[in-house]
């Protein structure tokens, strides 16, 4: 129908626009109202996000970027404005006074306020990844592999109409994400369990060894994000129990002991996926465990891991498949069991296959194509970014290095997985 109108010189374009608009109204939604969180996290679009703040608040946030002080702001995206939001500096090693990483809480000053159904979102400043896409590519791959992970997109961020730079728009790990990722279990929407953000303690690497019966060390590492008003025993008691049992139980008896308390299969999948992308600062990080959320399912004693902050991925194509398995008590014991070992290498194979699989219309495997697509999407914005802590030449070098990762990594993983499991070596393995 619209094509016929367009083709007719007797009907002006303005009339068509009016008709389309009226139809949209009749459908019960204005064009702006049709926006959803999926649109905000649409990874194929380079968005523009505007923050309207008081100029001194913005200066104060940059000066005191190590603090978590909130400042009021209006956020604009795609013609929509959410007022009365709270913005603060965020991050650990990525904190910056030049290009601050930001957390936007829509419910900071109004507990019931949401934006596109979201209570908050993260604007990742991309200061630790010169390519700009490591984390978003990783999260996309994790989603393909069934690993709980946030959605991400890219945006040029403007504060008071001044371009600050290129940011990743990251879905916050909160009740909305929990409901989206875990859905409904036994008729119970999984959005009200115990959620913890793992707190990396500088100089105190932790590899799942038992920290004693007192709950303080667990409280220090697992920062409660929901049910803050519950007792310490309610919040951290089950974690202490999980760690204690992991340490005290022989490897042969570990699975039945832990299954009620930990989704082992999900953990193995998560660690294997992290290994595939050569993540050096994750569950088996170089300085102990790091960068994850931990969720105790609603009305359950079982815990699951949720991926977070994967911008140290793609370290090298020959990143060993058993990196630091021996160091982490839980991982070492799980790998002593043939079932979990087989599953671990099975997920690595699955990841390699998924990365190598060419999608419809693509000449190259999914991982390389996705990297190239994202790099192309952000290219101009990255080069125009006035605040990034690296040069355009460094970004170009990082881009090239990243694009060199998939092919050798896929081969390496396929060959080494076969060797580890005693399977026949695929063609091309030396």
């Amino acid at each position: 129908m619209p094509r016929r109108h367009v083709a007719s010189p007797a009907v002006p374009d303005a009339l068509i626009a009016v008709v389309v608009w009226m139809l949209a109204l009749l459908a019960g939604a204005s064009p702006a109202g049709a926006q959803t969180a999926a649109d905000l996290f649409n990874p194929t679009v380079l968005h523009r996000v505007d923050l309207l703040m008081h100029s001194q608040d913005w200066e104060k946030l940059k000066q005191n970027f190590q603090e978590n002080t909130y400042y009021p702001a209006d956020l604009q995206w795609n013609g929509q404005t959410v007022r009365n939001s709270g913005v603060r500096s965020r991050g650990l090693g990525s904190r910056s006074g030049t290009k601050p990483g930001l957390r936007v809480d829509f419910d900071r000053y109004s507990t019931s306020q949401t934006f596109l159904g979201l209570k908050s979102m993260v604007l990742d400043n991309l200061t630790q990844d010169q390519s700009g896409v490591k984390e978003s590519v990783t999260m996309r791959l994790f989603a393909r592999l069934g690993v709980p992970a946030p959605r991400e997109s890219f945006a040029r961020l403007y504060v008071n109409n001044e371009l600050i730079g290129l940011y990743a728009v990251v879905e916050a790990i909160d009740k909305d994400l929990l409901a989206r990722v875990f859905g409904s279990i036994d008729g119970n929407v999984q959005n009200d369990g115990y959620l913890f953000e793992y707190n990396y303690l500088l100089g105190s690497p932790w590899r799942f060894d038992y920290l004693g019966s007192a709950l303080d060390p667990y409280q220090a590492r697992f920062d409660a994000k929901t049910k803050e008003d519950k007792s310490a025993a309610d919040k951290w008691g089950p974690i202490e129990e999980l760690v204690r049992l992991s340490n005290d139980t022989p490897a042969s008896a570990l699975a039945p002991m832990l299954e009620p308390r930990l989704d082992i299969a999900a953990l193995v999948r998560y660690v294997a996926a992290q290994n595939f992308v050569a993540q050096n600062d994750g569950f088996l990080g170089y300085d102990g465990m790091n960068n994850f959320y931990f969720y105790r399912l609603e009305d359950s004693t079982r815990h699951v891991f949720i991926a977070w902050d994967e911008d140290n991925a793609f370290l090298s194509a020959d990143f060993p498949l058993n990196t630091r398995h021996e160091e982490n008590i839980l991982m070492r014991k799980l790998m002593e069991a043939s079932t979990w070992k087989a599953q671990y290498y099975g997920v690595l194979q699955e990841a390699a296959d998924s990365a190598a699989q060419a999608e419809d219309g693509q000449a190259e495997g999914w991982l390389l194509a996705e990297m190239r697509r994202q790099l192309d999407l952000i290219g101009d914005a990255m080069r125009e970014d006035p605040s990034k802590p690296y040069t355009n030449d460094e970004h170009a070098a990082a881009r090239a290095a990243l694009l060199d990762f998939p092919a050798p990594r896929i081969s390496y993983v396929r060959c080494e997985s076969a060797r580890a499991t005693g399977a026949a070596l695929p063609a091309g393995c030396s």
Binding site: L52, M53, H54, S55, Q56, D57, E59, K60, P72, A73, D74, R83, N84, G86, R108, Y109, S110, T111, N160
Partner: protein
């Protein structure tokens, strides 16, 4: 605890000694001191060093002990050494008087200076005071602790008035009409800047503040000496001072220190307007005040827009009745104190008050962020019922039942709860 006990013991000893001396005075030596009197003695019911008829220095001391209970439980301390102060007050010839007072905390550590001033009072119509003392704003704020009828001052007195500062005041009184006009260094202790300042040295930009107050016993020229209306007094007061940019506004705070309205960003002027009345016919007392603070928010909105004024508005009204019959107008007589075998004086008191904070603008949806054009208002409404027992000179026992009700459930001492009860028993020793 030992320091607390020590303070209590010292105060009790001095108090009993003072009371004994007063009893002697009342037995025959009331009135002006003998011209020949020198050395240690009693002036104005306080132990004093007397150098002559008009030259003396009196010791002042205050200790206030509170026992408290809360429903629902707010995890507050159930005991509080509310204040311990010592000071000197005296006259230097018939033309000058002075006061020096400093506060001590529960651990016996000296805190801020309270009053430090000299007053030139040769003429009734024109007196000059200089030093640190309370700005002439707020009826109840300018009353001493012994003169207030409840354990806690009304919220408008503690949140909207300036209280003490360094300055100079000219004042006078004639036939029931009084005036006070002063200029002060900043804007008083209550309005001082407590948040970190974005601009270095911004705290120095607070003030100076101009303050003025006029009071009148309006019926005095028209009624006889014994007429009940003679004591009715009304007044109006005003302050105006510079307010530096920052999170520097006045705030809403409960008697127990919870901020139910945190400071918002302001810049410009801070003004206050106060109306007051006070009436003490016989054993009854009626008192009320209305105060509004108005603070500019120039360029404080998102995108540096001007915002509507930030308003703090509140009032209280209360009544008292001395059921043992003493007159409320002057110092309550202690002729029937427990030292003389009587009940002392027993007074019933009831007060209603409310204090709200919000913006002058009510356009658009109200918001809680400190740069909102239309601020989400919060209001604290308080009923206080009390019994005051004037046991003997300088000693008072007060019990208050307090009910607070907040408008915004998100900003109360327990989020989601709007109604709170508390009870306080106070032992107050002041001389």
């Amino acid at each position: 605890m030992p320091k607390r006990t020590l303070i209590l013991a010292v105060m009790a000893i001095v108090c009993l000694t003072t009371a004994g001396a007063r009893a002697q005075d009342q037995a025959g030596q009331t009135g002006p001191a003998n011209e020949a009197e020198r050395g240690f003695g009693w002036r104005n019911e306080r132990p004093s060093l007397i150098f002559g008829e008009d030259v003396y220095v009196s010791l002042r001391a205050k200790a206030v002990f509170d026992w408290r209970g809360f429903d629902p439980d707010l995890e507050e301390d159930t005991f509080d050494l509310n204040v311990a102060r010592v000071g000197l007050k005296g006259e230097l010839t018939r033309h000058f008087d002075f006061e020096i007072e400093r506060e001590m905390d529960e651990d016996g550590v000296w805190q801020d200076w309270k009053d430090v001033y000299v007053n030139w009072d040769t003429f009734d119509l024109f007196q000059v005071r200089a030093g640190r003392y309370k700005l002439p704003f707020g009826l109840e704020q300018n009353l001493g602790r012994t003169e207030i009828d409840f354990i806690y001052r009304a919220r408008i007195s503690t949140q909207l008035t300036p209280a003490r500062d360094k300055g100079v005041t000219v004042s006078g009184r004639d036939r029931g009409l009084g005036y006070e006009v002063g200029l002060f260094n900043t804007d008083g202790d209550i309005g001082k800047l407590t948040e970190p300042q974005f601009t270095p040295g911004a705290e120095d930009d607070l003030g100076p503040t101009f303050a003025a107050r006029v009071t009148a016993t309006v019926f005095r020229p028209f009624v006889g000496e014994d007429a009940a209306l003679r004591s009715l007094r009304v007044g109006v007061a005003y302050t105006n001072g510079n307010l530096p940019e920052g999170l520097n506004s006045l705030r809403g705070e409960t008697p127990y220190g919870y901020d139910y309205f945190e400071p918002v960003y302001v810049k410009g002027r801070r003004q206050r307007l106060g109306l007051e009345f006070d009436w003490t016919p016989g054993p009854f007392g009626v008192r009320g005040e209305w105060i509004q603070s108005r603070e500019d928010r120039l360029g404080q909105g998102l995108g540096n827009r001007d915002l509507s004024d930030f308003l703090g508005t509140g009032w209280y009204v209360y009544g008292t009745w001395i059921v043992t019959g003493q007159d409320k107008d002057d110092n309550i007589s202690m002729r029937r104190s427990v030292l003389h075998g009587g009940p002392g004086a027993i007074e019933l008191a009831l007060r209603y008050e409310q204090l709200s904070f919000g913006s002058a603008s009510s356009e658009g949806l109200p918001e809680r962020n400190p740069r909102a054009e239309h601020l989400f208002e919060n209001r604290d409404r308080i009923w206080t019922a009390g019994v005051n027992w004037y046991v003997m000179p300088h000693v008072k026992v007060v019990t208050n039942a307090i009910h607070e009700d907040f408008e915004d459930p998100a900003r109360t001492p327990l989020s989601g709860e709007t109604s709170f009860w508390s009870g306080v028993l106070r032992l107050q020793i002041v001389f």
